[in-house]
């Protein structure tokens, strides 16, 4: 965890500073560790946990690739294979991709907004503990031979009580509950933070693009996650208390499950990759040392992305048979997403075109992203077309497509973002040399793995098959893909090596090693618990750059601005922050954030007992609610007069 200070810059003898230090200090020992509510610590816990999940998901991916390396392989049986590909998909979607983006947002958004913590720090801690609970629950299942085996989408009736007996599917569905509650907590507090706690004068048209992307993502979470709440509840209640939501014999409908699932599932993909677009914007701005071209267009297309994402879920269900008019509508809406994504790509290209590009590792990953994501986007257009989709749906073509979009569109920017913000998180630079090697391994390995899958799909190889016959002619390309997967694995290991090596031996970074533009670079590296000694004032869209008012910022030499405007008059003897108005971010009132507390942890434990227990015995819904309610009473109980927070 990034708590050890290596930054030499800030003189601590100032009395006010030591008061701030004391007020924002976290407790010691394991109790203190469990009570932490600082957003960096929580964000970092999310990121680290998510990377552990990435590692596990990656190992599962390798197992899948080994099994498919040649025809009639018996490395994994059908049962084990189904478990592993399901766990792989579930882990990557629910336990890695979404949480890691949330973690980055929790870490960065308060700093970028120029405030000291998220709006509801305890809710934040609670969200993390539930997420951790979900991870542990799923992997407890995996290691006790109860890994889900019905695919990450869990279509009934296959996932119903009769065709997947045992507790495998229930564990999966309840794991979803854990992560959805956690994601909803994060979305709520991030929206409140972005709306109400931005630095003074950071009006809507000055919000950094990354923060915009998180705002859009959080709103999407709020409106998409309820659908998966319903879908997973359908499954759970059908399986544990014999309701009939998806049982056609009693009037239920398995297709309704698909509608509800994809009403969540498609926005889910954008929930993952919209923050990545924010990473790219931040990296492009900082490393081409130039204002982004077409900021309003970028913001509007982010918002449009968010809306359109809710209107195209049916393209996952073309093969179920739809009326013609429905097909035409969903084809059009699915293609529309290419327009909004295209605008952003053009804006980045224009920015890079006219910028002073510094070809760092972070920018390498952005270029890698552009190559892969553009290709993935174009195959997305193929999938939007109903006749083509009917051929390639549920084949390896689709596998190739969404790995291009998700690895290319989210993982590459994420790696870039980590190279970009690592100095802020740890106070040290990552090795650029190793970083570039790391990039090339990932890039080449990735294309080697997933490009052949397009061809396999067109040649009729369906998804989720545990093996195939030699007469199908799929051996060569599958072997190639498996080799590629191992090259990716090497790339991943190099990244970890770089992270751990640089943690100790990296060059000391200083506050703003990239001469970047946004407010997080005004904080110390690594940041103090309170982020800023004096809250900053956002004097422009790029507050750390010279000539702030002459937007669009010109090619003038990017340089950090030493004499920024700051806020004074906040009390330092308690955790006070500033609440500003929604549109113009004018200071409105002061607001005291709650301190560290063990109650989020205790509540999360109680809620987890309810969640996990109810999988095995429905009565835990009642008893879990009661103990959770008691824990919440403890959380809210007015000990001192100033303690109330959701």
């Amino acid at each position: 965890m990034a708590t050890q200070d290596v930054s030499p810059h800030i003189p601590n003898e100032h009395a006010e500073l030591s008061l701030l230090d004391r007020v924002w200090q976290n407790g010691r020992g394991i109790f203190g560790w469990l009570s932490v509510t600082t957003h960096h610590a929580i964000g970092m816990r999310y990121i680290v946990t998510a990377f552990v999940m990435l590692l596990l998901g990656g190992i599962e991916a390798l197992l899948v690739r080994i099994q498919l390396a040649h025809s009639n392989n018996t490395f994994l049986g059908p049962d084990r294979y189904n478990e592993i590909f399901t766990t792989h998909g579930t882990t990557m979607m629910f336990l890695f991709a979404v949480p890691v983006m949330e973690g980055m947002a929790i870490y960065l958004v308060p700093m970028m907004c120029g405030t000291r913590n998220v709006a509801f720090p305890r809710l934040n801690a609670f969200g993390y503990w539930l997420y951790l609970g979900g991870c542990l629950f799923l992997y407890w299942g995996v290691f006790t031979n109860a890994a889900p085996d019905m695919g990450w989408f869990a279509y009934p009736p296959l996932s119903g009580p009769q065709f997947t007996p045992g507790k495998r599917t229930d564990i999966w569905a309840q794991m979803i509950t854990f992560t959805e509650v956690s994601a909803l907590c994060v979305a709520t507090e991030l929206i409140a933070t972005i709306f109400k706690m931005r630095a003074p004068r950071m009006s809507l048209n000055r919000i950094p693009l990354f923060v915009w992307s998180i705002l859009v993502q959080s709103f999407m979470t709020i409106f998409a996650m309820p659908a998966i709440v319903i879908a997973s509840s359908y499954l759970l209640s059908d399986r544990t208390v014999a309701t009939h939501f998806v049982n056609p014999a009693e009037g239920g409908d398995p297709i309704l499950y698909q509608h509800v699932f994809w009403f969540f599932g498609h926005p889910e993909v954008y929930i993952i990759f919209i923050p990545a677009l924010g990473f790219v914007s931040a990296i492009v701005t900082a490393h081409s040392r130039r204002a982004i071209v077409g900021y309003p267009a970028m913001v509007l297309s982010l918002i449009a992305n968010g809306f359109i994402a809710f209107g195209l879920w049916v393209h996952h269900m073309f093969a179920t048979g739809l009326p013609q008019i429905g097909e035409a509508y969903f084809t059009a809406s699915s293609m529309m997403i290419a327009v909004t994504s295209g605008i952003q790509i053009f804006c980045w290209l224009a920015t890079l075109w006219s910028g002073k590009v510094r070809l760092t590792t972070a920018l390498h990953f952005v270029y890698g992203f552009l190559v892969i994501f553009v290709l993935g986007g174009l195959t997305g257009v193929v999938l939007a077309s109903v006749p083509l989709d009917l051929q390639v749906h549920d084949t390896f073509f689709v596998v190739a497509h969404f790995h291009y979009v998700l690895i290319g569109g989210a993982l590459f920017p994420l790696f870039g973002a980590l190279y970009h913000w690592y100095p802020k998180m740890t106070g040290r630079m990552m090795s650029e040399r190793l970083g570039k090697i790391n990039f090339w391994f990932l890039f080449i390995g990735f294309n080697l793995t997933f490009f052949p899958m397009h061809i396999l799909g067109l040649h009729g190889m369906p998804r989720r098959v545990y093996t195939y016959g030699p007469e199908m002619g799929w051996d060569n390309l599958n072997l190639l893909a498996t080799i590629g997967a191992f090259i990716i694995a090497i790339g991943g290991i190099l990244f970890l090596v770089n992270v751990f090596w640089s943690r100790r031996h990296g060059r000391i970074a200083g506050n703003n090693p990239w001469e970047a533009d946004s407010l997080e670079w005004a904080a110390a590296s690594p940041p103090k618990n309170y982020n800023f000694e004096f809250l900053p004032v956002a004097t422009s869209r790029y507050p750390l750059w010279v000539a702030p008012e002459s937007e669009p910022a010109s090619l003038s030499k990017a340089k950090t601005q030493p004499d920024r405007a700051v806020v004074t008059g906040l009390r330092n003897d308690r955790r006070e922050v500033l609440v500003t108005t929604l549109m113009d971010a004018e200071p409105h009132h002061r607001y005291v954030l709650p301190g560290s507390s063990i109650w989020p942890f205790i509540t999360a434990i109680c809620v987890s007992i309810g969640f996990i227990g109810s999988v095995f015995n429905p009565w835990y819904i009642i008893s879990g609610s009661i103990i959770s309610g008691l824990a919440l009473l403890g959380w809210f109980w007015p000990r001192k007069l100033l303690e109330l927070e959701p």
Binding site: A319, A338, K356, V357, A384, L458
Partner: protein, 339 residues
């Protein structure tokens, strides 16, 4: 790098078996779809190459910008440049919209043409019922004596439109013959339909495309497209009950089949075996594969399958019956004789 990919693509194209490929169309629908694919491929490929070229150019330009230690530009020039860049972005976006519109129209018209295939004339109706993990096919007919039920392999006449009427007995499956048309899900409680037509003779492989449990990988079937007269002959042969055993050995085989538990699941018309849980075996010997496309139909494979089906297709619903070695051989001979 690119060249390598093209080489690989060419390699893959030649290597892949063409009997299950969307790029080797054998019917009007798959032909249209393949045409649409190549249209998409070239247009989108061109877009990809253009974007990549621009990207590489930014790499060079941006680098040069950084190295030239340019003086501060005046505000006006910067403003002009900014306006120009924005208009380029706008124009590119408009071009994107136009290209997508073309693709949209192409896609919708092909979709409509494919859906309208069965609009004229009375199609032949084949009912498909998905089972874990095999296919039951029934040729529907108003005359009950002409209704034929078979499994995992069907014949269709060339040039005749066939209506596939899909249902499922357990979980969701998906009917897919890439050489003829796209997929159609088979959903319990619903009837889904799709028209197919083959225009050139051949044997086309289809496979379940919706994950359906343990043996999703081994759920294939074959469609044999042949001229009308050959089809008619096949149909007439299939409508007959099973041939009576011609030799004492075959009679013994039949007896063995009826004595073991086979009869609880399998039907052989013309005998007392009338189970409906598994595939109909009346004309088993005429089929190309056993176990839904898992193995070629040879006596050796059949023996292995009967003795231990769970080692070939683990988790499938065929019982592992302890057939005595002496009983096995006649049974195999009998089944193979059911042409």
């Amino acid at each position: 790098m690119k060249r390598l990919w093209f080489a690989l693509a060419a390699l893959a194209y030649s290597a892949a078996a063409q009997q299950q490929s969307a790029l080797n169309p054998a019917g009007p629908q798959s032909g249209r779809i393949a045409g649409l694919w190549w249209f998409f491929f070239y247009l989108l490929g061109a877009i990809f190459i253009i974007v990549m070229l621009i990207m590489l150019r930014t790499l060079m330009r941006g680098h040069r910008n950084a190295e030239e230690n340019q003086p501060l530009e005046n505000h006006e020039r910067a403003q002009t440049r900014e306006t120009r860049l924005r208009s380029i972005v706008t124009v590119s976006s408009v071009v994107t919209v136009v290209l997508l519109f073309i693709l949209l129209v192409a896609s919708i018209s092909i979709g409509k043409a494919n859906a309208d295939l069965g609009a004229s004339g009375k199609p032949m109706i084949i009912q498909v019922i998905g089972n874990q993990w095999w296919w039951q096919f029934s040729y529907l007919n108003d005359d009950p004596s002409q209704v034929l039920t078979t499994a995992n392999e069907i014949h269709i006449p060339i040039g005749k439109t066939v209506l596939i009427q899909g249902q499922s007995n357990d979980v969701i499956h998906s009917f897919w013959v890439p050489n003829l048309h796209g997929k159609r899900d088979l959903i319990p409680s619903r009837v889904t339909t799709e028209y197919i037509r083959a225009d050139r003779p051949g044997i086309y492989r289809g496979q379940c495309a919706e994950f359906c449990g343990l043996q999703h990988a081994h759920m294939a079937f074959y469609i044999v497209a042949e001229p009308e007269d050959k089809f008619k002959a096949w149909m007439q042969a299939q409508l007959q009950p099973a041939v009576a055993p011609a030799t004492p050995a075959l009679a013994q085989g039949q007896q063995n089949f009826l004595n073991y538990a086979c009869v609880y699941c399998h039907q052989i018309r013309g005998t007392t075996a009338s189970g409906t849980n598994g595939p109909d075996l009346t004309h088993f010997g005429s089929r190309r594969t056993i176990a839904a496309g898992t193995l070629p139909n040879t006596p050796g494979n059949l023996g292995g399958w009967i003795v231990n089906p769970q080692s070939i297709k683990p988790g499938n619903h065929m019982a592992t019956i302890a057939v005595k070695p002496d009983d096995l051989q006649p049974m195999i001979q009998y089944l193979e004789s059911l042409k």
